[in-house]
Symmetry: C2
């Protein structure tokens, strides 16, 4: 993890890990807006000042969580795509990993990946939708997100090297995999999955969108 993501590395101390663990829980429960360092400190039996030793402010903590999530997801994707050569299968697996519900893998005890996934869906874009995106980007805070995007763009190019918008399609896949799930649960009339609330339908929609789009370019019409 990039040094600029934190003041002190939370992975290296007990308090640090507690901060991660309980911030995920609190943000998921009450939303990022109502989340404060004071509430977090009370929850873990520490003090506000204690949290500030690890993170400059709560927005930085959100960026840390998103960076963690995208790094973890890229690892997962790389793992699941290992030994697969067919780019069609790769893309399908990938869309599945993005849109489907996450089951908490117990690899990192203090991170509940399932809750974190829900946070990214509802709060993830707030990490970059700020007036200081560009500076944050210069500090490479969004590198994990961009790396995943590049990985996806690469697979798209494997499928069809003539496709003209691999990066934009990659970021569209990532964002829509999350946003359509959010809409399905909260503003269902913006989707076609309102009654079912089934993530698998989002997967099918995105597969359809992606493959019709990149297949189209194989022809010369």
């Amino acid at each position: 993890m990039n040094e600029k993501l934190f003041v002190r590395n939370p992975e290296q101390t007990e308090l640090g890990k507690k901060i991660i663990q309980f911030s995920i829980q609190l943000i998921q429960e009450n939303g990022f807006e109502s989340f404060t360092f004071k509430k977090l400190a009370e929850e873990i039996g520490s003090t506000e000042a204690g949290i500030y030793r690890y993170f400059e402010n709560k927005h930085r903590l959100l960026i840390y969580l998103t960076a963690w999530y995208w790094s973890w997801l890229e690892f997962r994707v790389t793992f699941h795509l290992n030994n697969i050569s067919d780019p069609t299968i790769k893309l399908k697996k990938l869309i599945q990993l993005l849109a489907a519900n996450v089951v908490d893998d117990d690899s990192t005890m203090y991170v509940n990946e399932s809750l974190l996934h829900q946070i990214i869906i509802a709060e993830g874009s707030k990490a970059y939708l700020t007036k200081h995106v560009s500076e944050d980007n210069k500090d490479r805070l969004f590198k994990p997100y961009k790396d995943l995007c590049s990985l996806i763009a690469g697979i798209i190019m494997e499928y069809n090297s003539d496709y003209t918008h691999p990066r934009s399609l990659a970021s569209t896949i990532i964002e829509m995999a999350h946003l359509q799930v959010f809409f399905m649960h909260n503003l269902p009339s913006l989707t076609d999955f309102g009654e079912s609330k089934n993530e698998q339908l989002v997967v099918e929609y995105i597969e359809d969108l992606v493959f019709s789009s990149i297949r189209h370019h194989l022809r010369t019409d």
Copy 2:
């Protein structure tokens, strides 16, 4: 405009119009996070309490601005699509209206539509990415957004009545038209338009995405 969008209708008084005018200016300049009613009050020579007579809080003001924007956009779309029967042309016009830079039309003196468009790109999704979306949705605060989405879904069905995901594609068009522009300017490596910074390329990308997607279903493969 829905009565629940405000405490007192800002369109009906001088102070109300000033609130709209200068909140657009301040949010665009410094971002929604750093925007406060105190700063706004100072800017327009009124008091915090004065603003609270019109809007419950700054988040409600953001919802109002987004609702205003989507209503205005739907009107614009309807106007520009009037007399056009070809759904292909309709969809192209529509994508153009969504992604292209807005030129301030002087129809509403106190609303700078161009600035408002920029606000929607950078802050729009914060209107619904909250823990209280569902209640806000019950109060019909997102109706203008949903109406525009329905309108677009309708045109998609005109083009191809067999297409299976008209609503999801409609919300995808709306969101991506904005997000790809945001990425192009702020996180360019997430797009394929990095160097050019030209909105027209976003339009082309989305056209390609949409038409390959809905055309695909015309075939039976």
